[in-house]
Amino acid sequence: MDLVTWSRLQFAMTAAYHWLFVPLTLGLALIMAIMETLYVVKKDDFWRKAAQFWIKVFAINFAVGIATGIILEFEFGTNWSNYSWFVGDMFGAPLAIEGILAFFMEATFFAVMFFGWNKVSKRFHLASTWLTGIGATISAYWILVANGWMQNPVGTTFNPDTVRSEMASAQAFWEVVTNPVAVSKFFHSVTSGWMTGGVFVVAVSGWYLLKGREKVFAKKSMLIGALVGLAGSALVMLSGDSSGVHATEFQPMKLAAAEGLEDGGRRAPFSLVPGVEIPGMLSILATHDLDGYVPGINDILNGYTDNDGNVIPSVAEKMARGRKALDDLAAYRDLREEFPDSAAVFRAALEENVQYMGYGHLEKPEDVVPPVGMVYWAFRFMVGLGMLLALMLLLATLFAWKDKLEGKKWFFIFALICIPLVYICGQCGWIVAEVGRQPWTIQGLLPVNVAISSLSAGAVKTTFFLFLAIFALFLVIEIRIMLGAIKKGPQISEE
């Protein structure tokens, strides 16, 4: 395998591994904050002990999440050097803001939350617990602003003198911050975290009930977990809908790959599984219009007219214009110091095709097609599992609300099975979002083969296996410790 593939594998592995821990952090943060609020409001010590138990589980999960987060940040530089320069002007700002606004909040108040039970007042402790979760959520927003910009690069202009994408104006920053793709991704990711947290708490509570232990704690935890998870499920569906519409508008190839749609059109069908389709449903989901046009893979390769009447050129034409842009860029840079007048001509020519410059680095039109099978099935697993999980959370809410949990052994086992399923669901979502946008690091501007660092494939292969070994080791230890903590339980007396 070449350097690009190893660099992609290393980053994908780190991101996927990081994403194992983040959703539970986001979900548990909300659940334990609710429990501690009940403790402060009701002055019932039961809720303090319940919150302390989930905080303990949260802390075990939190450490590995932090450890993998720093690797991701550094890998932008170590493995994607050209990317760092090309978009550092746009991408670095949200990352720095994330550090200033969110990380310090998380770091400061996590310490108070974890160690401060007997050191600070009840209210200050409660505020710290909420602020830890709010910090994690703000962190998610800024990193998804950065990620959303990669999927839909708004507010930027290419500067041939510095050879990078730069912020077009001070106002352009607001375009980046309110990028609709970023906003959708934020709600989708955070609420999927609530869903994960909900499933986790329901399943662990179910395990206690299955074992006949910690009954009061388990029932009350299950109700809160189920309500948070169910709210998360509903919001995931809503934000998923807007993600689909945005994909149609900004990343039609991703949508076409997720649907395995070779030839699109109006009243496009939605594929449940290969060979089973719902007529017109894809047009409704993707454009909110039965007669909406959804381009397929071949349409995108050959060119088409979108729903607003814009003529989208074929990929071959984009590549030709991209290569012309690269030639004009080279000529401009060659002449700009000695022959500024001649250079100005090439600069003007560059402006005409600069939006396709990224296509100039592709070898053939088919390079813009991501791995269709992987994205197609990941999408189906994500949606199918999401519905199954929502059903489980709905049942948990009903059973816990009506106090009908006794003897529901089948349900407790179902809930336990849902723990691996919610993680598979989250990973599938990540695959749809990130594999679906290949070959672009920045949609339309910078393909992966131009974004890399100047390293040997062997060096990245070595660090890939090094990180793989470390991640595997941490995962095994984390699961062992977490299972140990769960087996020990909150140990709340139940008179």
């Binding site: 075990i60 939190f62 450490a63 590995v64 932090i66 450890a67 987060g69 720093i70 530089g77 170590t78 493995n79 994607w80 050097s81 050209n82 760092s84 002007d89 991408f91 670095g92 700002a93 990352l95 720095a96 803001i97 994330e98 200033i100 606004l101 990380f103 310090f104 770091a107 400061t108 108040f109 996590f110 310490a111 974890f114 160690f115 401060g116 007997n118 050191k119 600070v120 710290s128 510095t162 050879v163 730069e166 104006s169 001070a170 352009a172 920053f173 690269l326 860029l329 680095h361 890399i452 660092s453 100047s454 390293l455 060096a459 660090t463 470390i470 941490f474 230890i477 062992r480 299972l483």
Partner: protein, 380 residues
Amino acid sequence: MTYTFLQNYWWVLVSLLGGLLVALMFVQGANVQLINPRLDQMRKRMVLNASGRKWELTFTTLVTFGGAFFASFPLFYSTSFGGAYWVWVLLLITFVFQAVSYEFAYKKKNLLGSKFFRLALAANGVLAPFLVGTAVGTFFTGSDFYVNKDAIADASSPVISTWGSGWHGLEALGQGHAVLLGLTLVTLTTILGALYLIKAVDDHSFRKKMRKVVRIVAIPFLVLFLTWFAILLFKNGYAVEADGSVSIERSKYLQNFLQTPAVMFLVMAGVTLLVTGLHFGALTKSHRKGFWCAFAGTVLVVIAVFFLAGFNGTAYYPSNTHLQSSLTIRNSSSSYFTLKVMFWVSLIIPFVVAYIAYAWYKMDRHGITDREIEKTTHKY
């Protein structure tokens, strides 16, 4: 606000974050005590819990320092991180182990035993300051890289920044002056760690041992630091001409020192505070404020070091492979609008510092005792 003002402003902020990062590495320095044979298991647990309440601040400052460099000087980020690959990977690995070791060290079923994780923390305690110090040391010795922005138009070799040495950063270990700074940081953070433990742990005999650590390590620290600084002042530096070209200049850093009153003040104030901190820590029996003096002194001196590297017409990241590829504040920064937007965002920093200070104050009013470690369940 002019572009030049914003570029300088961000160099000041990066310098401040660098200063805070080095000072906050007292966490690493404290963890070196986890392999101190003169401490029993309980004292080691107290060390772990004392540094464990602050490690996330250091970690976060490292992440923010990286993020701020990425956002304000992206050409440094792309050139150094993508080039000095092994140094940064090694640093990452030590920090990754640190992050989990607190949580894992004393948990049952941690697979590797608590000693392994204590060793991982101590290894991070030595390697992290050493690698950071050596990496910053290359700001004055130069590195082997080449920057060619025309490369982006070359389909066969589009990478802008390429590294000249196949060692990808490890060659810095052969640069004596850079290594000297790495060793200086190891001794400095060990002192800061011991001073912090004197403040944070409420145990008379333990404090006595930590004062002895300060006394023992202070001498090599002063020798290393003064040697590094003396060599710096008289070595050749990398001057930026008015047209942006870079040239070698004799005693460039001495000139920077003498021509920049702010740097002179920062160095003198910083060293005075550091020495005061050392005095309180090493030569008094009950004084516990040495940490704050040494902390503030460290921040000031590191800021001065960054100022010496980047201001007064100096290339802060020189290239030995191709002198004109050297990075300066002017040629490596983000655009005007990005720096401007981030300027407004940076105004929130005093608020962040205020809530950190408040939380720190609330949490550290009473020192950690062995009784607390025995009784509480909320501990590492």
